[in-house]
């Protein structure tokens, strides 16, 4: 009793490792999130490997056009004579990068705006709410065209920055709306009122208590926004407002559709990027649902009870 534990640096590191282990353990509690996590990790490994080990230059027109899969080109060649597998392999990293940056930055903006408006005075709340509503009401396609042509007009080599910016601008509002309502409900709970009475500042309450309380929503919003980022990449490229000389799954689809690959039967060109994007979406959705089940025990207990009831009837029979 009353003894003070001196935590050494080594113990701290061990603690951190243990903590990450237990977080991963949480992911594997649930079949859905475990599957989603494994798919996501495999795609990430695929993407990182693609940065270094692409068999051919994905940009070079060095083969015969529209070859079906063969021993030299595993996935055939494009209508312009590029190697499809190299494009798929090298294009994975940018696609993932865009998905994650849109997910992270979009969620950060939504959390900031949402929590602020949920916790601010009524006037600020109304002001922010109307701005969010404007962004929700204006069609995303319109905003993408608008900002896209603007960024294209800059004529500078900005890499993926314009694409990411466009997607964040069109993607943050929904999350902000969610966080606003969640914050409004959390901030009226007794334990937040108690902190107000104790004399905690608003900043301290937000960072110490509200962010923790809405963490499940933040994680879920991250996956939704990242999904929007990957999906958005394809239609940004499809609308022609992205930089089409870049190689990613979005531009692959753009060129495939532009060359009417689906009419000329070049399935090896259009299917691989579509399937990879679907798999990535699928992993995000699985992670989202799985984490939701972990964070919300009422979804879990129902299943367990069901299983128990089933077992009972089994033994009776």
């Amino acid at each position: 009793m009353g003894s003070i534990n001196h935590v050494s640096g080594l113990e701290k590191i061990v603690g951190i490792i243990r903590k990450t282990k237990s977080t991963l353990g949480i992911l594997f509690q649930n079949g859905k999130s475990a599957t989603g996590f494994i798919i996501l990790v495999s795609i990430s490994i695929f993407a990182i490997a693609g940065l270094f080990f692409a068999p051919y230059n994905p940009d070079a027109y060095m083969f015969r056009r529209s070859l079906p899969p063969n021993s030299v080109n595993i996935l055939g060649t494009t209508g312009y004579g590029q190697d499809v597998f190299s494009q798929l392999f090298a294009g994975a990293a940018p696609t993932l990068f865009i998905g994650f940056s849109v997910g992270i930055l979009g969620t950060l903006i939504s959390v900031f705006v949402g929590v602020l408006s949920g916790f601010a005075s009524k006037r600020v709340n109304d002001l922010i709410n109307s701005i969010v509503n404007i962004f929700l009401v204006v069609p995303g396609v319109l905003l993408i065209m608008l900002f896209g042509t603007y960024f294209l007009g800059l004529k500078e080599n900005l890499g993926y920055v314009p694409t990411i910016l466009i997607l964040i601008i069109t993607g943050w509002a929904f999350g902000a709306r969610t966080f606003r309502s969640v914050t409004l409900s959390v901030s009226k709970r007794d334990y937040i009122l108690s902190s107000v009475l104790i004399g905690e500042s608003k900043v301290s309450i937000i960072f110490r208590q509200i962010i923790k309380a809405i963490m499940p929503v933040i994680v879920s919003n991250f996956f939704f926004t990242a999904m929007y980022g990957v999906m958005g990449l394809t239609f940004v490229e499809y609308l022609g407002v992205g930089n089409l000389s870049q190689v990613n799954w979005g531009t692959m689809l753009y060129w495939a559709i532009n060359d009417e690959a689906y009419l000329t039967g070049q399935w090896w060109w259009i299917l691989p990027p579509s399937l990879m994007i679907s798999a990535l979406m699928f992993s995000f959705i699985l992670l989202n649902f799985g984490l939701d089940e972990i964070a919300n025990p009422s979804l879990r207990i129902y299943n367990k009870k069901n299983r128990k009831a089933k077992n009972v009837t089994d033994t009776q029979n």
Binding site: G2, D190, Y191, V196, L197, I198, G199, A213
Partner: protein
């Protein structure tokens, strides 16, 4: 004995929106005058909807009164804001009804008691003070409870942790809004006993809000009966319960269950 907290014709109206423009106001409190003396346990009694919780929240300024004034140690505190309000709130603390909602599920018992000590710039040894506070609310041994999360302890223990959190600021007035109504009957008397011993030891004045007349007579010195936002009766607890003058108080006393009487 001097009056520590006093209200002067407090009223509170709530807007109830019907449509976009039209709305009604509901009078939750109507011209309420009460006072609290030093080292006194005062009971506010009334049915649900009588305005007793509203009054409690007004006294700690979670709501602002529509009209009327509040005096703390003969100072008008009604318009207090910012730092002055913080100071006032450290003197007048509130205990919530539901101990399952008033503790943050993501933080330990230790954190709940440490924060008010840090915020009030406690001069002495914080670790020792936390142990002392936990012992004061009879959570022994303190080291066992410190690392617990709220969901790992029982309702009565949670309410006592909350008491320790409120007492960490060394308040002069404690407003307890139905502190035992969510607790198991067998635990109620313990918490009430704790409240009265806190009054004895620390000289804290307590406003005890309840709808349960049985527990009122156990600890309180004086009583106010609220009905539809108005004080309908007041006086020493024994007098009021033995000799109620208002018809509503009489109904309330008759409604309290008697363990020796069958329906």
């Amino acid at each position: 004995m001097s009056q520590i907290l006093r209200t002067e014709s407090i009223s509170k109206e709530f807007m109830v929106r019907k449509g976009l423009v039209t709305g009604n106001t509901i009078k939750a409190l109507n011209d309420v005058n009460i006072y609290l003396e030093e080292r006194e346990i005062l009971a506010l009694v009334g049915a649900s909807g009588s305005g007793k919780s509203t009054l409690a929240r007004i006294l700690v300024f979670l709501y602002r009164p529509t009209s009327g004034k509040i005096f703390f140690q003969d100072q008008d505190v009604t318009k207090y804001k910012g730092r002055k309000l913080k100071k006032y709130r450290s003197d007048v603390q509130m205990v919530f009804q539901d101990p399952y909602a008033s503790l943050d599920p993501y933080h330990t018992v230790d954190w709940h008691i440490r924060r008010p000590l840090i915020l009030s710039h406690y001069k002495g040894n914080v670790e020792e003070r936390i142990d002392e506070l936990l012992e004061m609310v009879r959570l022994n041994p303190p080291s066992y409870y410190r690392e617990k999360f709220p969901h790992q302890i029982s309702g009565g223990q949670r309410q006592r942790v909350y008491l320790a959190r409120a007492l960490a600021l060394e308040p002069k007035v404690l407003i307890a809004d139905e502190p035992v109504s969510m607790l198991d009957v067998s635990l109620r008397i313990e918490v009430l006993d704790l409240l009265s011993s806190i009054r004895e030891k620390l000289g804290v004045s307590i406003i005890y809000i309840t709808h349960d007349l049985n527990t009122v007579s156990v600890i309180s010195d004086r009583i106010y009966v609220l009905h539809d936002g108005k004080v309908v009766e007041s006086g020493r607890t024994q007098d009021v319960i033995a000799n109620p003058s208002d018809s509503y108080t009489r109904a309330l006393i008759e409604a309290a269950p008697d363990p020796y009487k069958r329906l």
